[in-house]
């Protein structure tokens, strides 16, 4: 992938895709989208970055090992389910919290945390696989 155009444009595309992936993830509860799709978009972005700048560069940009992100995702997804135990409800009962910010009300909920966990798992796992395939050697 030595095309100059691709290498120049790729970081821009990647940035837009990453922002869009977060948007898709967060709007998922009411519109098409969700953590799974968001994670796939973000993973595609990482794959593009890996192709254009090299896997090592993509890893550096990510800062955190992608598998660690995936593991964190499983953790917060499970953790969001455990929260309801403190209210005396069964595992994974959803809890909703409405945050009043001036004019608008921002709904926060445990399913949202759960969806973010799904996002992290999908993003982390697929990025890890893609980057490992793109780069010959891995960083420890």
């Amino acid at each position: 992938m030595n095309s100059l155009i691709f290498r120049t444009i790729a970081p821009l595309i990647v940035a837009v895709m990453l922002v869009f992936s977060v948007y898709v993830c967060l709007r998922g509860h009411n519109e098409p989208g969700g953590g799974f799709i968001g994670g796939l978009i973000a993973a595609s972005a990482m794959a593009i970055l890996g192709m254009s700048s090299g896997a090592a560069e993509a890893r550096r940009a990510l800062r955190i090992d992608p598998l660690a992100i995936a593991g964190f995702g499983v953790f917060i997804a499970g953790f969001s389910g455990l929260l309801s135990l403190f209210t005396g409800s069964p595992f994974m009962t959803s809890i909703w919290l409405y945050l009043e910010l001036g004019q608008t009300s921002v709904p926060l909920s445990t399913p949202m945390v759960f969806d973010i966990g799904v996002y992290c798992v999908v993003f982390g796992t697929i990025s890890a696989v893609a980057l490992a395939l793109e780069g010959g050697e891995e960083e420890p």
Binding site: P32, I37, S44, A47, V74, P111, I126, V129, L133, E138
Partner: protein, 798 residues
């Protein structure tokens, strides 16, 4: 009982586990005194249990229960009655001394903290086992004793013999654990209760009594090492001596004896029960006694006498008379005291003199006077001389057989022989190392430290004190314990008075005399028994090895069969499975005729018509067909992968047109990523760009693909021809906004209604990711210059 009592009794079983977790840190902080600090835990438990004697002796039981899984009616319930209190007091009391002893015995060992942790966890499991009332709690603690004893026996894990002993103990006792679980489930099925205290005669009367009896006996016999499942016990002697002193005196192996005593009220008393227990117990008694005389290693001798003692206990429970049960209880305490003491003495000898071989030890009494006193008190109890607990135990067991029937006489002879051998071994253990001429030892022997002397001396003294206080002993130990086992009030009649007219006295004297004979002829008997053993050729031990190696070979063969490493056969297997899963159920449930066009349709080909589609719909279908055609025709693999992506994109467009935006969205992303990843894999594997499969491979793969495709199409047609049950989707549509606050039902299902499934799925994704990374790393190795580098250098390379 109030919450306070519930919590404290639960704490008896739980506190040792907490202490076990803290043990390594305490060891680090209080290095030379770790044993003293940690002994506070079992010591405290012992003192607490002492306060329960009063209510139990008064005829009551103390029960405690805390919720465990209330949804299934499971309670972590405990019951303290005469039987469990006797066991729990003995376990915690001896446990205190053993922890002290271990602190000194392994003083310089770097992993003493870990060892003490295992020991405390084991004690907690054992206490839970004897206090549990709920059968599932009993099972859990039972298995915990197996696991923790595995850790203890294999503590010295760099030695192969220790590992083997540990695995053997784990395998054998786990077989028993499984039997116990199944037995508990059957009993629950019969009676509807998980609580031991709630069980009555209904099990004995049911048709499944034989099954329940068999399962519980397997559990008890594996744990208590009855012939022919006895062989793990001597091999468990690979553990450090404090472990043997604890496991094989008052705890682990007594678990089976406890289970038998505990189940006596609702399982015992039948003819089968009596016969099986008496026969197996008697056989184990004699086998262990003879086995002890074969050995010259002090520890092995004691291990074999433990077998004999276990057999004796099982036999007594089998007899089930009032005197036999009283004898069993007295014998349990007496045996726990003297056996723990003797093991500790042997450990001290080994520690200070450097050997345990009875043939090269002698005259240690001068150098280790306190150890000698401890050994003397324990051995005299083992011989059963008056003024020890062992005396009463022996008197009681003979008393139960004074009926002059041939069966009683036979049992009496077995008991006499067994007790004589035990007495003989006790004399050997006392006299050979300590008396006689001083023999040179590998280490210059000197007195053991106080923490190692406390055990034998305290236990020996306690044995003597308890035997003097006969009334108190009968009142607090025998009566409540026997009442708990027999289910009726029992009165004790222990007395120190010696009655020369009683046959009991003469039986005791006969035992001692025979024991002395055994002692005198020990060397000759050892030679004889060894010759006999060598002539036998195989033992249960070798059978165990054969079975284990057979298992390993079998699993190796199965693995080689399934895991051959040829990717195309794996894939073919998967798709053949898929095809079968698609076609066979369709045929079985609907009849294969249903797969053909229905006869009612008449001339069905005339009814087909050209579908009325919009131009853009034709466009999408054309796209899918172009993609499909390109996949089939492409000889270049990269082109085929791209074409597959085109076909998938067309499918995603169809989803979009039919109102499944989420699905389409996902499908788009999956197509893009799979093209990217497949292309990357291809370059990574350095596959040839051209697809050069021979014709028969193409035919095989093509056929499989066709069958799978037809199967999926048929399945969809069958699904669509039926009426869909829309109850669930109606429910989701109706409740998505009011309950789950979401308008996107697909997402609401994923993260809320079916969130648990999703949690499982993302865990699988994560696990698959880790597996892929592992594979990729392995692939990366041969890519390193193929020059044969020496092993050391390759390891050092980053």
């Amino acid at each position: 009982m109030g919450f306070g009592m519930d919590a404290s009794i639960a704490l008896v079983a739980i506190a040792p586990f907490v202490a076990a977790l803290l043990a390594p840190f305490i060891h680090r902080l209080a290095r030379p005194y770790a044993g003293w600090v940690l002994a506070l835990v079992p010591g405290g438990i012992f003192l607490f249990l002492l306060t329960l004697i009063e209510p139990v002796v008064a005829g009551g039981t103390v029960s405690a229960s805390i919720g465990w899984v209330p949804a299934y009616g499971l309670e972590l319930s405990f019951l303290v009655d005469g039987l469990s209190l006797t066991f729990a007091l003995t376990i915690s009391g001896i446990g205190t001394l053993i922890v002290l002893y271990s602190g000194a015995y392994l003083k310089t060992h770097p992993h003493l903290g870990r060892f003490l942790g295992f020991l405390l966890a084991f004690m907690g499991a054992m206490l839970g086992l004897v206090l549990a009332d709920n059968m599932l709690a009993l099972f859990m603690f039972w298995e915990l004793t197996s696991v923790t004893s595995f850790l203890l026996i294999g503590f010295d894990h760099t030695r192969q013999a220790a590992r083997r002993g540990a695995i053997q103990a784990l395998v054998i006792t786990n077989i028993g654990g499984m039997a116990l679980l199944v037995g508990a489930i059957v009993v629950h099925h019969l009676t509807g209760s998980w609580e031991l205290s709630a069980l009555g005669g209904e099990v004995r009367g049911s048709g499944l009594y034989g099954l329940v009896l068999g399962l519980f006996l397997v559990a008890a016999f594996t744990k208590s090492a009855q012939v022919p499942l006895h062989f793990w016990l001597p091999n468990a002697m690979e553990a450090p001596t404090p472990v043997s002193a604890f496991l094989h005196s008052a705890t682990m192996v007594q678990g089976g004896v406890y289970l038998l005593a505990r189940t006596t009220p609702w399982l015992g008393g039948t003819e089968a029960w009596t016969w099986i227990l008496v026969c197996f117990g008697g056989a184990t008694l004699l086998w262990g006694g003879l086995g002890a005389l074969r050995q010259n290693d002090l520890k092995q001798m004691l291990a074999q006498t433990t077998l004999a003692s276990l057999g004796l206990s099982v036999l007594l429970i089998g007899l089930g008379t009032e005197a036999a049960i009283a004898a069993m209880l007295l014998y349990f305490v007496a045996h726990a005291f003297y056996k723990a003491g003797l093991f500790m003495v042997v450990g001290a000898i080994d520690h200070e003199a450097g050997t345990r071989d009875i043939t090269i030890l002698g005259g240690l009494a001068d150098r280790m006077p306190v150890t000698f006193i401890g050994a003397a008190m324990a051995s005299l109890a083992m011989i059963g001389l008056p003024l020890t607990l062992g005396y009463f135990a022996k008197e009681e067991m003979y008393l139960g057989l004074m009926h002059w029937q041939w069966s009683d006489m036979a049992v009496l002879l077995v008991l006499l022989a067994g007790n004589a051998m035990l007495a003989g071994v006790a004399m050997l253990v006392l006299v050979r190392p300590f008396l006689g001429p001083v023999l040179p030892t590998p280490k210059l022997a000197h007195e053991a430290p106080i923490a190692m002397l406390a055990g034998p001396v305290v236990l020996g003294a306690a044995s003597i004190v308890a035997s003097v206080m006969t009334d108190w002993l009968g009142h607090t130990l025998v009566e409540p314990g026997a009442a708990a086992i027999l289910g009726e009030a029992v009165s004790s009649h222990l007395t120190l008075a010696i009655n020369p007219a009683s046959p009991l006295l003469w039986l005791s004297i006969a035992t001692w005399a025979l024991g002395y004979l055994v002692y005198r002829q020990a060397a000759a008997m050892r030679t004889l028994l060894r010759r006999f053993g060598a002539g036998l050729g195989w033992t249960a031990d070798t059978v165990f090895d054969a079975v284990m190696f057979g298992l390993i070979r079998f699993s190796g063969a199965v693995t080689r069969l399934l895991h051959h490493g040829r990717l195309e056969i794996y894939l073919a297997t998967v798709f053949v499975g898929l095809a079968l899963a698609l076609i066979v159920p369709l045929g079985v449930f609907n009849g294969y005729g249903a797969l053909l066009p229905n006869a009612d349709l008449g001339n069905w080909s005339a009814k087909l018509s050209w579908p009325q589609l919009q131009p853009y719909e034709w466009g999408v279908i054309a796209l899918a067909l172009i993609g499909l055609g390109a996949v089939l025709l492409a000889t270049n693999r990269l082109v085929a992968i791209l074409a597959l992506g085109i076909q998938g994109t067309a499918v995603a467009l169809i989803f979009l047109m039919f109102g499944a935006p989420d699905l389409a969205f996902t499908q788009f992303m999956v197509e893009v990523l799979s093209v990217v990843i497949l292309a990357l894999v291809m370059t990574r594997l350095r596959l040839d760009e051209l697809d050069q499969r021979p014709l028969e491979d193409l035919a095989r793969d093509g056929t499989l693909a066709l069958v799978c495709g037809v199967g999926v199409s048929l399945l969809l047609m069958v699904v669509l021809s039926g009426t869909l049950d829309t109850r669930l989707s109606d429910l989701f549509t109706a409740t998505s906004v009011p309950i789950a606050h979401g308008h996107n039902i697909v997402n609401v299902i994923l993260v809320d209604y079916r969130g648990f499934d999703t949690l499982g799925e993302i865990s699988v994704v994560m696990a698959a990711g880790i597996a892929i990374m592992a594979l990729l790393r392995r692939r990366a190795k041969p890519a390193v210059p193929a020059a044969p580098a020496p092993r050391r250098r390759r390891k050092a390379a980053p």
